[in-house]
Symmetry: C2
Subunit: 239 residues, 2 copies
Amino acid sequence: MGAHFASQLSGNDGFSPLAVRPGAARPAGTPVQRVAAGTIVFAEGDVADSVFEVVSGTLRLHKVMVDGRRQVTGFVSGGRLLGVAQSGECLCTAEAVTPAVLRRHPRAAFERRIDAEPGLARRILAEMCNDLRRAQDQMLLLGRKSAVEKVASFLLSLAADEDGDYADSIDLPMSRTDIADYLGLTTETVSRTFTKLRNDGLIALPCPVSVEFLDLDQLEDLATGGADGDGWARRPGIC
Amino acid sequence: MGAHFASQLSGNDGFSPLAVRPGAARPAGTPVQRVAAGTIVFAEGDVADSVFEVVSGTLRLHKVMVDGRRQVTGFVSGGRLLGVAQSGECLCTAEAVTPAVLRRHPRAAFERRIDAEPGLARRILAEMCNDLRRAQDQMLLLGRKSAVEKVASFLLSLAADEDGDYADSIDLPMSRTDIADYLGLTTETVSRTFTKLRNDGLIALPCPVSVEFLDLDQLEDLATGGADGDGWARRPGIC
DNA sequence: CGAATGGTTGACGCTTCTCAAACTACGTGG
DNA sequence: CCACGTAGTTTGAGAAGCGTCAACCATTCG
């Protein structure tokens, strides 16, 4: 346990300008690392000596219990940073679920840059705020939402762009097992819930990995626990 | 919604030295604010214009859904910062569960200090790393642990000091409802689980708010899902 | 073509939730 | 001092959602 899988990653770092936002300055030819799906970038307990910038592809972060139970704590795709919030050792395992392109920054140099560029520290801080917001939303989801509400929330979070608009359809880069371990469910329940949403006419499933949205409004209601059918009648006490 | 309860807090800020660690430099007489139990320090959706330093007491952070379902995302007690990870508006509601003493730092000045003192930025970053670690542990708890495992984990997290040692007994500052909303359970299940742990001889409950630990080893096994009785035989695949 | 992998569907059971009542502690007012 | 109301906790009985186990289907790859 705690093996240094990070050494799987070859290549080195020419210190490109840490493009936190997708589409930000990314000079052609800066040294990046291509990894295959299934590659473990770092494992829970590893020495956290690097910060990664995800250029493209999707990674999965997860923790495991001694008996094998797994919790996916997040998916990270293009344009985001990975491994900033790790003091000492890695908090969780990061694995590529699709082929991915990464840019590695040695932690020591990364932290020197933070000290040297005041604006950078605030930008990193803002990134971590986002991580924390996502984590809190996920806690609400895991602790208080039903299976349908979880899946609806999940699909909408994937469909949403930065402006809060939704795509008409999406492709799921991850497996049903990954989704289940992300939502605190089993694959069977995830599958059944997809089927239920399809039967209810909220989504279409041309194939297991692609989802078309047929009724975004009703999906949003489900995701937030908003309207339970007729649109009125919440629980007493609030509202 | 989003009312500015923060204005409940009077007093002002003489810029004491942001004591991130309990027991760090805290000049006598710096302006602090005393709040009663039940005081809402800030509410989800409020403008996040302040960072708070919790001097003493315990606060609860929580989010609510439109129908009233509630998820407590964390408890914050003496020596920790509150509200750093909020860009724009507050992510959740912060409420005192005990009488508390706070020190308020206007956000603008706080961020100027981050830019001015490079070391501070890293210390704040380290604080947020801890928040994120806690959040990830909580996701594992909420998504994958049973009721007993959740309660055992919760009790041990309260009993643990910075060195990883456990206290013999603790007083719970929060209600069963708060615990339930923190662990993704109902008050009834929390109560039943306490009773079960007592009947199994792992804890004693002189009164509802105080817990004595009678078998810390077995509690730890429960919390991690480690040994299920005989100490051997995990699931195949791992180990 | 056959095996392997991932996804879907079904039957059943268990953990936890829901609803309800009783008990305790505490403060109020007669 | 004691009856009373209130809020929090505990306990009980029944229901339901989701997990478990198992079989089946679809796709891919050798």
